[in-house]
Symmetry: C2
Subunit: 506 residues, 2 copies
Amino acid sequence: MFRVRLIDIKQGTYEVLLNIEDAEELGIHPLDRVRMSCEGGSLTSIANITDTLIGKGEIGVFSEAASALELKDGDLVNIVPGERPSSLQYIKKKMDGQKLAGQEIHAIVKDIVDNNLSDIELSAYVSAVTIRGMDMDEITDMVNAMVETGDVITFDKSPIVDVHSIGGIPGNKYALVTVPIVAANGVTIPKTSSRAITSPSGIADTMEVLAPVSHTAQKVKYIAETVGGTLVWGGSINLAPADDKIIRVEYPLSLDPRPQVLASVLAKKKAAGVEFLLIDIPTGHGAKVETESEARGLAQDFIELGRRVGIRVECAITYGSQPLGRAVGPALEAREALMALEGKEAPRSLVEKSCALAGILLEMAGVVERGRGKALAEETLSSGRALSKLKEVIAAQGGNPDISSDAIKVGQYSYDATAWEDGYVQMVNNAAVVQVCRTAGAPKDKGAGMVLWEKLGSQVKKGDRLYTIYAESKVKLERAKALAQRLVPVPIGGMLLGRVPDYRVA
Amino acid sequence: MFRVRLIDIKQGTYEVLLNIEDAEELGIHPLDRVRMSCEGGSLTSIANITDTLIGKGEIGVFSEAASALELKDGDLVNIVPGERPSSLQYIKKKMDGQKLAGQEIHAIVKDIVDNNLSDIELSAYVSAVTIRGMDMDEITDMVNAMVETGDVITFDKSPIVDVHSIGGIPGNKYALVTVPIVAANGVTIPKTSSRAITSPSGIADTMEVLAPVSHTAQKVKYIAETVGGTLVWGGSINLAPADDKIIRVEYPLSLDPRPQVLASVLAKKKAAGVEFLLIDIPTGHGAKVETESEARGLAQDFIELGRRVGIRVECAITYGSQPLGRAVGPALEAREALMALEGKEAPRSLVEKSCALAGILLEMAGVVERGRGKALAEETLSSGRALSKLKEVIAAQGGNPDISSDAIKVGQYSYDATAWEDGYVQMVNNAAVVQVCRTAGAPKDKGAGMVLWEKLGSQVKKGDRLYTIYAESKVKLERAKALAQRLVPVPIGGMLLGRVPDYRVA
């Protein structure tokens, strides 16, 4: 019997720590499995080995394993060498370039969800899928396995629609306009979305300026069925939980393997009870998808995968070479979306995209015939019905429905960048905008971000305001300003783009 | 400034733990890098994030980072977001199937040695090399990088020879006989070897029965130059330290990518100052290399790589379908090797292989002309000169040179397995022998293991002794016995191997 010492650290997996002498006695190497049993049951954990922290006869138990077996300091447990998870052999099979069977994929996903794979093993899986790929059969099995290993929302209404943007451009706040337009027309749209990982604001961060976004699956179902729509954070619901664990491992190497992207999106939506799904694929220079042919290929894959897992999918290929609208950052984006809903002056690109996507959703749901959706959406927006609906959603999620765009607080420190010569805006550099906004404090500081006063093709005169950076602290504003001066998010130039030889360079 | 809280756990990398609020404030995600600075210097670490263990304003610092900066509990450090190591982009490049340049491989190896890569990142590297492979240029760069990032032994004598077995068969104690034969002929052979990872005994475990095997590089050089040979544990010397860190990650998935095997072996030997290297490739059913053509391909790769890194390599393809000699397990193997050196009755296979390998080494070193080495080796063995030399090595390493095979203690609990019918030994199952010996306690219990009384092709009568299992505890003996009854390490049968249909199965 071994005496338990709790180690209050979350490792993301079931892990224990053994003294090296005990480990040798048991024939256990680092990262082997041990089976630990006690009155509370038994559990297979990953073994780490130490020659200092844990004495002979003791076992260090990290948080996840400790809470699974309800262990306390000083409890006695029995330890025997454990079996390696069978999914390891399927990961090797994928490394060898073989196709995985449905039950093999299910075993991998289940071990991921059950915290049975170490970082090393999970990374080998992600690497193998990145390099070897998966075919449509395997991706279908992946979706089903991801859905089965998490919670599922079942609606009493139909149709249930949703829209998902594969991301990659800053300022993509369209959902705050699109969702209420759709819901205002009697169609149920339980939108779940993510927080920013590498961007200045995810839809969930932006909505959080207006209302709480963490809700249970029951609450999401209730709000969607009564109000018609939600704008909640998907991370608060246990839908396809394998996804977050896989993303964690993809993040350090910026991996984003296509099969996993396809599976993640459809698994989350399938688990959320969605029947009709519109996928927004922002396309262009500086977006995740750079060419239209690539976008069309991706769209076909989404549609085919949807067919296989029982979701009717359509895709919208949208302009993605510069930010949507002018505002980037949670509060600035929420304010801009509200302005569009309130009928105030709002960027045409935001209104255009939001209505186009809402129109497609309304057509998919059968509310209006094909080709008439956008007009209905525009009418819903201009009539104020969409604004009323958003306020109902805000109230249902626990926010203040009396909010107006004027009342939204943005960062009190700001800096205006001006044109240093006459010319044209040559581009808006998505990556530079992201970096500057994050340096200014977004998404953590809700009021931080940028407003772009001029966009691609604008003619500007020396001294004209190009953009404003907002921050909640002076230090962050200065840092963001310095970065902007280096990265030049809004470059301008004349019609003469270059001269060869260019003596200025020398 | 953040207040340090030491976390007395070795993670194998530089790691810190931040409170989630601080992490969000700094814009740091799990596994991002942070740059930590204090009076003792500065260091880039991998960031982990917690919402419980570490409070706002605190930073948990794991052992490696704490000792690198000499931090104490309560010290104050400054934290800023850090850069990701540049080697991550080279790992991605290898995932994409591209060839890596020398400086890219060097950057990866250096980050591995410097503890800059997380398990996730290191696993992605190993997976990429496993799937994509490396060409001879890359493997050459890998050897050089592994040598440069560790210690190097430079001998004042020449030639320096060594022998390395790529392993895969139990009972492979040949080096205890080969090394003293070579050294007794005036050739310097500083043999470094590994401990068992998955086998019942590595050469280092076996030698440890006779003398300590952990020595510094200086001591290895001194012993080799004065006595002529060593039999030490390579792990005690910092030669090509990247290797152990890579092996740790390969272990859970039983990965063993060819490029890494080639690079590891030659890097360790190059760092040890070896000029002439004989590589033993045990080949056959149940060995690591199963066919002779595979063995010949591997041999060519070793020879070519040796040429590129300045080591003259020859390879010996040896019989590997069953254990070498009769004894398996540290003490049993040491005893058998001593018996061969003492001129007592010893298995022919052990004497034959040990002398064959010693003969090739003597020829490579130019002591004897090609074709005459084995005869010289046999003469050195039968004259007792090899035994005297081993005793010198034992004494130099701090063991008792008056040891004899009779005095070696083996497990006091034993079990004889006997033939259950008349017949022939159909095979000796390497994998089953390994499992049974490890279950009996090897390599941790030095006296545990097996002696095989009959080997492939022996004719046996019902009741004849087939093998004996030894253990140091009754419980382990019983477990090993039960496993042996299930795995049948020495199956026997008549000339009739099967009958169809076989009613016994039904």
